[in-house]
Symmetry: C2
Subunit: 431 residues, 2 copies
Amino acid sequence: MEVTIVGAGLVGCLLACFLARRGHQVTLYERRPDPRPAGAERGRSINLAISERGIDALRRLGLDGEVLKAAIPMPGRMMHALDGELTFQPYSADRGQAINSIGRAELNRILLAAAALPGVRVRFEHRLTGLDERTGELRFGSGGTARARVVIGADGAYSAVRSRLRALPGVGFSQEYLDYGYKELTIPPRDGAYAMEPGALHIWPRGRAMMIALPNPDRSFTCTLFWPHEDLAALDTPQRVRARFAAQYPDAFQLMPGLVEDYQANPVGHLVTMRCTPWHVTTGEVTVGLIGDAAHAIVPFYGQGANCGFEDCVELDRCLDETGDDFAAALALFERRKTDTDVIARLALENFVEMRDKVGSRLFLAGKRLEHALERALPGRYASRYELVSFSTTPYSEVERRVARQRRWVAAAGLAAALLAAGLARTARRR
Amino acid sequence: MEVTIVGAGLVGCLLACFLARRGHQVTLYERRPDPRPAGAERGRSINLAISERGIDALRRLGLDGEVLKAAIPMPGRMMHALDGELTFQPYSADRGQAINSIGRAELNRILLAAAALPGVRVRFEHRLTGLDERTGELRFGSGGTARARVVIGADGAYSAVRSRLRALPGVGFSQEYLDYGYKELTIPPRDGAYAMEPGALHIWPRGRAMMIALPNPDRSFTCTLFWPHEDLAALDTPQRVRARFAAQYPDAFQLMPGLVEDYQANPVGHLVTMRCTPWHVTTGEVTVGLIGDAAHAIVPFYGQGANCGFEDCVELDRCLDETGDDFAAALALFERRKTDTDVIARLALENFVEMRDKVGSRLFLAGKRLEHALERALPGRYASRYELVSFSTTPYSEVERRVARQRRWVAAAGLAAALLAAGLARTARRR
C-alpha cells in the first residue's frame, strides 16, 4: 500500500519506520529543509524527556539503544528553593527508573536516519497548502501536487492536515491556550564540566511561575522559563532581566553569563492543548487521518508529548494488525485511543500546577515519601500515578482507574486503622 | 468614526442601525447578493422565534412594531403524541406571553430596509477572503480591498473574521457538533386555511428524534426535523420516507403532500456550538471584534440565537456609552458578555433533551403545571427559567443564579412541609 505522511518530525519518522516494516511504500512530506546538514535550530523547543512509552516504541524497531546513548538519564527532580536549598525527589521508589533528556533536533536526526529505508522517500521543503479529502490530492507551497489514497497528518500542533478536516461539517475541534509563555535559556558548562548535577530534571518552583533545566550531552543545560505572558513582556530592559533573575533564581543567575542576550533573542512560545474528533475521514477510497500532536497536542508538563506520539505509532501498528492492513478500518479503530490521549492532556495541564507550586511544599514532599513507602511495601500492588505514566505502558485511562482504586483502598485502610486505634484506646481506658 | 461590519445578516444590520444612531459611518460587507429582489432562499434555515430580548433591542430603534406585524405569536407549545393526542403547554403562567414566529429572510429584509440610513453603506457580493488585523486591510473574493480601523465580524457561525482571529496565538476556540442534522419540510395551507392551530410552536417529541413546526403568515407551517444523521441518511427511497412518517408522525404525514420531494431536495443542516475567547484583538490603532453567532454560535433549541445576537447589539451600544465611543475600549468591555452567552449556549444544548424527550412525559407536564402555579401564587417572586429567558431581559447568567436560588427555597419549603406533616401525624397518633 502507498501511504503519504505529512510531517517528518519525530512521530512522522517513527511511523514511517513502522509502516515500512509492514511492507508499505511511504512518502514523507516535510515543510522544513533537511535538518541534518544545517544543524539544530536553537531557542525553538523544549528538551524532551523520553520515558518508558517512548522507549517501548523505539525498542520494537531496535532504535532504543541508539536514542538512549544520545540521552542523559534523569532519575529524579532537583528542586531549587529561593534560598539556594536543593531537594532531590526520586521519580521511582527504588530510584532505579529514569526519564531521559534529549534534544528534539538530535532525536529527529536519529529518526530521519532510521527512516532511510528502501520503502521510504522523504521530500523536504514541501509545505502542504491544500488537501482534498475526496480525491486525495495534496498541493504544496512550491506549486507541486501529489495524490494519495491514505494521508496521515503527523504535522504537529498546528497541523495543516487537521485544518482541512476541521473545515468539514461534523468535525469537533478545540484549541485552548494557557496564559503562560515559554522561553529557552542556557546554562553553559563551567570549566568544561556540568555546572549543576546532571542526573536530574531541575525545577525552580516559584508559585505562579517556574523554570526548569535539562542536561545536554555537551555539558550544558537547556533551561525553559514558564511564565505568565505579562511577566515575560515586563522584562524589557537588561536591568530588569538581571534584577528579576537575581531576586527569583539567584543560584541559576550565577550560571548564566549569556542570560540577557538569550532572553532578548529567543522567542516566546505558546502553550496550547488541541483536541479534534474524529481523527479520520474516509470518503470513497480516500482516507485522511491524524496522529501525534496533530491529533492531540498537549502541554509539556508531564513530559509525555513525544512519548504519547510514539505510543500512538505502536497503537496504529496494532490497529493495522487487527484489520489486516486496511488503513480505513485501522484509522477508524485507532479512534479508541482518544480515551487515553484525553487523560494525558488533562494530567499534563494539572501537572503544571504541581510543578510550579506544590513541589516546593513540605506537605507535598511528605506525600511523595509516603507514596514511595507504599510502593516499596506493596511492590507491584501500589504504584504512583507518575510511575505508571512514566515507567509503564499501562494505557493512560487505565492508569487513572488504577490510581482511583488505590486511593479508595488507602482511604479505607486509613479509616480502618483509625477505628482500630480508637477501639484500642477505649479498651485501654476501661482497664 | 468609520466602522466596518462584515455580514449584513440579522445582527450586522441591527448593529449598523445602533451605530448610525450614535453618528458613526458604517460600511456593511455581505457575501451574498441583495436578498430583496431575489426572494427567500428556501430549505436553508429554521424559522426564528423572536421573544423579549429581541423585541427589546428592536424597540430601542422603533422597529418592534413592524417586525411583530410580520410575525405570528405563539403563546405555547402544542405536543403531538404518537396516537394523535394534542397537549397545549402555555409558555407563561398567565398565558399572556408569546414568542413570535418569523422567517429569517423576511426579518432580514425588514432590517436591511431599516439600515438604509444616511450613515450606512451596504456592499453586497463582497465575500471576505483576507483580513490583516495589524493594518486593518480587508480583501474580498472579487479582488477588491478596503481598510478600516474598526472591523466587527457579524458574519455568523462560520465567520471569516473569526477564522483570522483563531489563527492568532493565544486565541482559544472550539466547535462542537451534535450527532444530529436538521432538514426543513412544509405543511401547506389546507383549503386556504392553517392546517393546524397557528397559535403554537408544534412539537412531535419522539425520544431520540423530534420534529417542530412554526406558523408562517401565508398560512403554511415550516417544519424542521432534528434527527440523528444516520436516521436522516437511512431514508434513501420515497417508500422509506413515507413509511417512517406514516409510522412516527401520522397526523403531520396527512398534511404534507410534498413530503417526499421536500425530503429529497432539501439539504441537511448541521448543529454546532462555537466558542471563541477573546472576541477582540487590538493591534496599534486597529481593533477587530466579533458579535452574534460569529462570537458564540449556539444550537437553536431555546429559540435564543437571534434574540441573543440582538441583545449583543444592545450591550455593545451600552459599552460604547460607557467608553465614550472608544471602540477598542468598548469591545474590550464587551467581553464581559461572555459570562451570559456561555450560559445560553449550555441551556440551548440542554433544552434539546427536554424538547425531544421530556415534554412528552406526564411527570414533566405535572412539573410545568406546578411551576406555573408557583408563578401565579408568587407573582414577581417566582419565575420559571423559560419565562426569565424568553420574557425578560434579565442577563442569562443572573437567570441561572435566580433559578438556583428558587430551587433551594422550594426544596427547603418542601422539607419544612414534610417535617410539619410528620409532626402532625405523630401528634395525631399519640392522641
